[in-house]
C-alpha cells in the first residue's frame, strides 16, 4: 500500500481513530507508557512479545494464550514418523516473562472491542490496549469437504495442529497392517505449511519402509503442482521407490466427498479406499480474527506489510498464518519474521514515526529421511508498484546440493527458531 491507497487508508484510520477516541474512556498512551496486548502464543505472537520488549524494555507487553505450553506444528511430521515423542514439540514461553518482563496471561480471549481498545477474556475481565497484535493461526474449514467435519476429525485426523491430532495419526499408523494404504488429502493454496503434506508423505514412507514395507501412500491433491515438487519427486524415487503416489487434480478432479465409515475418498473420476486416512482440509484465519471482522471474503486478514496493521480496523495488527502476506507462505518462519517487522513498526507508531519499508525472510526445510532434507526460501520487500510484498531473492535447494548438509542445518534451525521465538 502506497501513494493514494496508503493516504486513503491513513485518512480512514484517522477518522476511525477519532471516533474511537470519542467513545474511549482513556486517550491512547504514547511511547513507553503504551500498552501492547498480544493474543496467540505460537511462533508469531511469542516472537512479537519478545521483540517488542527487546526494542523497548519499558513497554507494557501482555501475551494472552489459553494453552500453558505450545506444541510446535513445525516438527510434528517427525513425531508422526516416530523419530521423537510428542513432548519434543513442547515450547515453553516462561523465559519471555522471567527474562524479558512480558506479562503472560493464561486465558482465552473471547472478544475484542476495537472502539474502546479492549480485549475481553473468558472470565469477563478486560485488558486495555493501545496496540493489539493477533497471531491466531488457522482454523480448519469443516464445511469445505462433504463428509468431513469436526466430529469426523476425532477419528479421521487432519493432524494439521500439533497435539492430540498428531498422536491420533501416529497411533493409527502404528496399528495399520503391512500392505495397508495411507491416503493424505492435500488442500488448494493458501494453507498452513505448503510443503507439509509432501514432507508428511515422505516421513510416513520412512516409517513404513522399515516396519511395513508392502504399504503404500497416496496423496490426493486439490492442486496440479506443489512446493519443491521436483526435489520431492526425486527424493521419493531415490528413497522410497514405488511407495508414494501423487494424484494431481488434473487427473482426478477435486474430492467429491468422503465416506468416513468406509474410509473412502471419492473424487470426480475415481474412488480410493484407505486403511489410514489423513484429511488436510482447507483452512481460514483463526476464530477471533474472523469474529472481529478482520478477515475479508477470502477468510484471511488483509494487512499493510509495513506494520502488519489491519487495513480494516486500526490499531490491530495481524501476523502469521492468519494474515495475507502474499507471496510469503504461511509458515513458522514467516510468522517469526513478520512479528519482528510488526514489533519494530509498533514502536515507531507509538513514537509518532511512520514505519519504514519492511524486509522479511522465509526459509522452510522439509525432511525426507533423517539425513536427507531440502528447502525453499525467499527474501521479501515491499514493492510500491505491485503494492504488496515481492520476493527479491530465494529459491529451492539446487538439484545437485548436499541433502545431508541441509538435514544438519534443518535440525539446527529448529533449535534456533525456537530460541529466537520463545526463549527470553
Amino acid at each position: 500500500m502506497s501513494g493514494i491507497n496508503r493516504r486513503k487508508f491513513l485518512k480512514l484510520a484517522g477518522t476511525l481513530g477519532a471516533l474511537g477516541l470519542a467513545a474511549c474512556t482513556t486517550a491512547p498512551r504514547k511511547g513507553s507508557k503504551a500498552k501492547v496486548v498480544i493474543v496467540g502464543g505460537g511462533y508469531g505472537g511469542s516472537t512479537a512479545a519478545k521483540y517488542l520488549k527487546l526494542f523497548n524494555p519499558l513497554l507494557d507487553v501482555t501475551l494472552v494464550e489459553k494453552m500453558k505450553h505450545y506444541y510446535s506444528c513445525a516438527g510434528s511430521n517427525e513425531v508422526i514418523s516416530g523419530w521423537h515423542d510428542l513432548d519434543w514439540l513442547l515450547r515453553s514461553r516462561d523465559g519471555l516473562q522471567t527474562k524479558l518482563g512480558v506479562k503472560l496471561v493464561k486465558a482465552k480471549a473471547v472478544e475484542i472491542d476495537p472502539q474502546n481498545r479492549l480485549v475481553i477474556l473468558k472470565d469477563g475481565s478486560e485488558l486495555p490496549y493501545d496496540r493489539l497484535v493477533l497471531s491466531p493461526g488457522v482454523d480448519m474449514r469443516f464445511d469445505a469437504i462433504d463428509g468431513y467435519d469436526l466430529k469426523t476429525s476425532k477419528f479421521i485426523p487432519h493432524a494439521w495442529k500439533a497435539g492430540k491430532q498428531t498422536t491420533l495419526l501416529l497411533n493409527q499408523l502404528r496399528a495399520m497392517r503391512n500392505g495397508g494404504v495411507v491416503i493424505i488429502t492435500a488442500p488448494a493454496s493458501p494453507y498452513r505449511c505448503p510443503p507439509g503434506p509432501y514432507e508428511r508423505a515422505s516421513l510416513i514412507a520412512n516409517y513404513l519402509k522399515q516396519t511395513k514395507p508392502r504399504s503404500k501412500i497416496i496423496i490426493i491433491d486439490a492442486k496440479t503442482q506443489f512446493s519443491k515438487q521436483e526435489l520431492f519427486l526425486k527424493g521419493w524415487q531415490d528413497l522410497y521407490p514405488g511407495m508414494i503416489e501423487w494424484i494431481s487434480s488434473a487427473k482426478e478432479g477435486q474430492i467429491d466427498h468422503i465416506n468416513p465409515t468406509k474410509l473412502l475418498v471419492v473424487t470426480e473420476f475415481n474412488s480410493h479406499r484407505a486403511d489410514v486416512l489423513n484429511v488436510i482440509p482447507p483452512q481460514k484465519a483463526g476464530w477471533l480474527a474472523r469474529k472481529t471482522e478482520l478477515a475479508d471474503h477470502t477468510r484471511w486478514c488483509p494487512v499493510d506489510p509495513h506494520s502488519f496493521e489491519s487495513t480494516l480496523i486500526p490499531n490491530i495488527h495481524i501476523i502469521g498464518d492468519a494474515c495475507i502476506a502474499t507471496p510469503m507462505p504461511k509458515s513458522a518462519f514467516s510468522a517469526n519474521s513478520q512479528a519482528k517487522i510488526c514489533a519494530a513498526a509498533i514502536v515507531d507508531l507509538l513514537n509518532d514515526r511512520q514505519p519504514g519499508p519492511p524486509s522479511l525472510i522465509n526459509h522452510c526445510y522439509s525432511f525426507l529421511a533423517p539425513d536427507y532434507a531440502i528447502s525453499i526460501n525467499g527474501v521479501y520487500e515491499y514493492s510500491g508498484t505491485e503494492r504488496q510484498l515481492v520476493a527479491t531473492a530465494g529459491g529451492v535447494t539446487p538439484m545437485n546440493a548436499d541433502r545431508q548438509l541441509e538435514a544438519k542445518f534443518a535440525k539446527s534451525w529448529r533449535d534456533n527458531i525456537s530460541a529466537d521465538s520463545f526463549g527470553g
Partner: protein, 100 residues
C-alpha cells in the same frame, strides 16, 4: 496524438516518482538483520552448528556474503539469500552484527 504523448509523459512521471520512492526507501539495516535471526539466533547469537554472526569481524561477514552472492562460495542456502542485498547493505549488516 498530443493526448497520447501527454499520457505517456504522465505515465512515465508516475513511474519515475515510484522508482525514486523505491530507491530512497530501502529497508533499514536493522530490519534486514533481524530477519536473519530466524536461523542465526537473536542478534546473531546462533546455536551451533549454524554460524554465529554476533561479534563477527566486519571483513569476514562482507567477504562471505560477497562470495555467496557471486556464487564463488558454495552453500545450498546462502547463495539463494545473499542475492537480495546490495554491497552497501551487506556492509551495514556486517556493522550491525559486529556490535552484538
Amino acid at each position: 496524438m498530443k493526448k497520447v504523448s501527454l499520457l505517456i509523459v504522465a505515465v512515465s512521471a508516475i513511474a519515475t516518482v515510484d522508482a525514486a520512492e523505491l530507491i530512497a526507501k530501502r529497508p533499514s539495516v536493522e530490519r534486514m538483520a533481524h530477519a536473519c535471526s530466524g536461523c542465526h539466533g537473536t542478534y546473531g547469537h546462533a546455536i551451533a552448528p549454524t554460524p554465529v554472526l554476533a561479534g563477527m569481524a566486519e571483513e569476514v561477514f562482507v567477504k562471505a556474503m560477497g562470495e555467496f552472492k557471486a556464487g564463488q562460495r558454495e552453500s545450498s542456502i546462502m547463495n539463494r539469500i545473499a542475492q537480495a542485498y546490495s554491497d552497501e547493505e551487506i556492509v551495514g549488516m556486517a556493522q550491525f552484527f559486529k556490535k552484538q
